[in-house]
Symmetry: C2
Subunit: 362 residues, 2 copies
């Protein structure tokens, strides 16, 4: 087992990464400050890992909530079900919430912990690759609004994170690939060495080799932790983590939540970001090809959906949180593994890149 | 105009107290960091002060939301209407929310600011005495849940507070008295000198004398600011501010939100706290009589509702946030103006105090 420390002053916490960590009370117990623990999971993950997780918290008064599975349920209504459960059981302000599941469970549960009685503790047990590399670090929590993804939320750091690679063996292939999209993202942002490692080990990752997975998780979390420690509240440089996300959010929202997985939309978003960077003359066509090939080898989509017109695409991008003072900012590439937050582009260039996708698809 | 500074490190902010402050852009403009301002108010306050408030923000892109009036609308549903308005107008993460109204508008709006895009700025313009002395300081925001008051919320500090005593001239008498309840609370907690001032000036306060009101607001905010600065996240001593509130919440919840005003319930709650303190031998019957008389002179109820049985009362008190590890803590008095947070009492004593009220009423 490896332990990675996320350094955020008094909000610092450890990430434990390894195989078969779920049933180990000695890892989680020291991070529970009160006497009550509420485990939140969903109908897919619950039958697999809820019992084992509850056993690890057997020393405490436990309860559990099973939410429906899917991004379309990442809503205020689902979020409120956690409060129902907490209040029916009369859980007090020293209770701990445990998020057992993927990114949706983690985001909703973390946001419930941020707001229950104005803030209680929580522990993340991410069971998808995407959530292990993405939601484990950064403290972003929240839910979607019909008019935009993640528009309602809070920054709330977990007390600890347990990334058990054994849970990835039961993950379906599409979900695994979606997680690899975020892993690739860390290489593309600012870690060319990791990018080269990924090109060499992509088959091991898609083949679920535990050692390759553990390395990829640790490296991704470490890369992310450096960015987050510099800019916890996302005032500036943290926006780098949104590589592919502004395009991706437009795809997710435009196609209807749940049709494209978040990681799939980000994958295509990264291709679009690379293409826009090439169009601006910042990287070469060989760079774009290298990024696109790696993303495709992970089994991820590299083509923007034909149903989404360029007009609608641009409209959806305009409500993204990255808009400051009416000016859209994007994460683009000055090299592979060398990304920047920038507004030095023209909306017409975005349109051209999207229309080129539609032309290829036609 | 008086300016009181609330000292919370990088979250410090000023409270401006005086007459006719609403229409003065030079007070609020320096506290708006972005270009967009959304004023949230309700159907009672909006017709009186919305136009004037919007004029003060004329240098910015403005929008407004008018919520229904009343504690029964302090819900997640009402809260969500603010997000609808913000997203329909495409307000970005640098926008500022302005709460124009009483405590309900302030709590909902502050909580929306805490969660919109994971946190935006807000300005408080409290228009009731209760919200001027209570919500102005402390950063507590939130909404009610059917199973408990203020169970969902966040700590979120305003950028500034504007307490315009001119708005109190239009307040109905019951609302004014409810505010005086919180003013009396600060005297009873730890300010015997202020308590004596209140005994002398109660007629001026109920008569809406602007100078007496300004003094009472300033002194109350200053008293509260000292307590909050010591314990921003309510880990310990801040609980003193809950004098009368555990009893009061039980009354509000038990009678149905909206039937008793918050301040009225707190007023009766303070009488119950004094009586319990007397029963424990900590204060004398003359002290209780002095507290009860002052509260009654403000036009506030001093009698627990007969409809609420002692059983139901105790049950409702048990879900209060002040319960830690299953043990109820209350704010009781070791003297008038000398309150303590304590669990040194028996639930049977609470029952006896409530039953004595019922016996008197019968």
């Amino acid at each position: 087992m490896k332990t990675l420390h996320v350094d955020l002053g008094e909000r610092s916490y450890p990430i434990y990464i390894g195989t078969d960590l779920l049933g180990r009370p000695e890892l989680v117990s020291p991070h529970v400050r009160g006497s009550q623990v509420m485990v939140v999971t969903n109908e897919t993950v619950g039958p697999l890992y809820l019992e084992k997780t509850l056993q690890a918290f057997a020393a405490f008064e436990t309860g559990h909530v099973v939410l429906p599975d899917g991004e379309q349920y990442k809503t205020l209504e689902t979020w409120n079900r956690i409060f129902d459960a907490l209040l029916e059981r009369r859980f007090d302000r020293r209770c701990t919430l445990v998020a057992l599941g993927g990114g949706v469970v983690g985001d909703i549960t973390g946001f419930a912990a941020a707001c229950y009685q104005r803030g209680v503790d929580f522990i993340q047990i991410p069971t998808t690759l995407l959530s292990q590399v993405d939601s484990s670090v950064g403290g972003k929590t929240g839910v979607n609004h019909p008019l935009g993804k993640n528009m309602i939320g809070a920054f709330h750091q977990p007390r600890c994170v347990l990334a058990d690679t054994a849970t990835l063996q039961t993950l379906d292939s599409r979900q695994l690939a979606a997680g690899i999209a975020e892993v690739i993202k860390y290489g593309l942002i600012n870690d060319p060495e990791f990018l080269a490692w990924l090109e060499e080990h992509m088959a091991a990752l898609t083949g679920r080799d535990p050692q390759a997975l553990a390395f990829a998780i640790e490296r991704s979390c470490a890369d992310k932790a450096v960015v987050v420690a510099k800019d916890e509240r996302e005032a500036g440089s943290r926006a780098l983590l949104n590589l592919g996300h502004t395009f991706g959010h437009a795809i997710e929202t435009g196609m209807g939540y749940g049709r494209w997985l978040h990681g799939e939309a980000v994958a295509t978003g990264m291709v679009l970001a690379a293409e826009l960077s090439e169009r601006l003359g910042w990287i070469g066509s060989a760079d774009v090809e290298r990024a696109r090939a790696l993303i495709a080898r992970a089994g991820l989509p590299v083509q923007a959906p034909a149903e989404l017109s360029a007009d609608r695409f641009l409209e959806l991008m305009a409500v993204d949180k990255k808009v400051i003072g009416g000016k859209l900012r994007l994460v683009l590439m000055e090299g592979l593994g060398q990304s920047v937050v920038t507004d030095r582009f023209d909306p017409a260039d975005i349109r051209a890149v999207i229309e080129a996708h539609h032309a290829r698809a036609a």
